[in-house]
């Protein structure tokens, strides 16, 4: 599995170069042209990324989440879902780096092969960070009105996280 995933990128690179050669285009010029565009894109992303990091970090550091989680505890107890996984499930769509950090802590304290460890793995693996993806993609083309994008993105996350719980229960009992 590891060899396959480390071979993919080199293969893509050589394929692109080879194809460019065969079509007789000036690959070096094309590369530089594209790279310059890449610089502009990165430049365009920065404001929206900063805005997102700013709001999310303030929110996370205030520990409001822990307070808010108190209201969800009865529901989780009722569903017999371990409470330790709760912060991760909530944070997954908001901040990729914090959910990753929580997952690592859960692995360290409960082990990756525990119910909690498996739940954390599947939650981390099944969705991406909606807020970050939105800031990145819409920021890069300066879209301000995002319409129903957040709603649809978060709904996908919700589906993923709920099914993570169900699937882990089914698979590992």
């Amino acid at each position: 599995m590891n060899i396959i995933s480390s071979a993919i990128i080199p293969i893509i690179v050589i394929f692109i170069i080879f194809y460019g050669y065969r079509k007789k285009i000036n690959i070096y010029d094309s590369f530089l042209k594209g790279a310059k565009e890449g610089l502009v894109s990165t430049f365009n992303i920065f404001p929206s990324l900063l805005a997102m990091v700013f709001a999310i970090n303030i929110f996370l550091k205030s520990n409001f989440i822990e307070f808010a989680l108190g209201f969800l505890k009865p529901l989780f107890n009722f569903l017999k879902i371990p409470l330790e996984i709760l912060p991760m499930a909530i944070l997954r769509p908001i901040s990729g780096s914090s959910s990753l950090a929580i997952m690592n802590n859960l692995f360290a304290s409960f082990g990756p092969d525990s119910l909690i460890g498996r739940l954390a793995s599947v939650i981390q693996g099944c969705t991406d960070t909606t807020f970050y993806v939105m800031a990145l993609y819409f920021g890069s083309v300066k879209i301000i009105k995002t319409r129903y994008a957040l709603k649809a993105g978060l709904f996908a996350d919700l589906c993923g996280i709920v099914s993570a719980f169900v699937v882990v229960k089914i698979f590992f009992g």
């Binding site: 995933s5 194809y19 790279a35 805005a51 970090n57 997952m103 690592n104 360290a108």
Partner: protein, 192 residues
Amino acid sequence: MINILWGVLIVIGIVYSFVTGNITTINNEIILSSKSALDMILEMLPILVLWMGLMKIAEESGLLKKLANLFYPILSKLFPSLPKGNPALGYIASNVAVNMMGLGSAATPFGLKAMEEMQKINPDKKCATEAMITFLVLNTSGITLIPTTVISLRLLNGSANLTEIVLPSIIATTIASIGGLTLDYLIRRKNR
């Protein structure tokens, strides 16, 4: 919606930390968060520049168009508003393919190029198009066949069975994508 949410996150964060007497942390965070955003962008910059360069070769050699046409039968169902032969379709296909391999950071440049192409045919440059939102849903639900980061962290923490979570993850991510795309489709149909 993001407008309201952005403000709400900041206001809740600051007010709550005043209430709990945690204001020094927030004060530091206001200063530090801009720094961590800069770190993030600096980490991303070289990858973006490199891949956007390589992708320009793929674009100008016609490779991308070929890829777009190959996946057109599937993609046209998801993105009915994108005309056949539009380069955005090629970028979307590449983005999804690389994401599936669990190479998220290499997928981002393809995604940004897809957005750029979709923006070119957007009549209102400030407003997201339907195709853009569908693409976003596809990305946030992150269809990953090999969750590389999770597997490597499991390895570090001494898991006895690294890949036992792969199949459950694929099922969950598929349900996430189907759920998101269904809601997206329903909203699109209602707006018509």
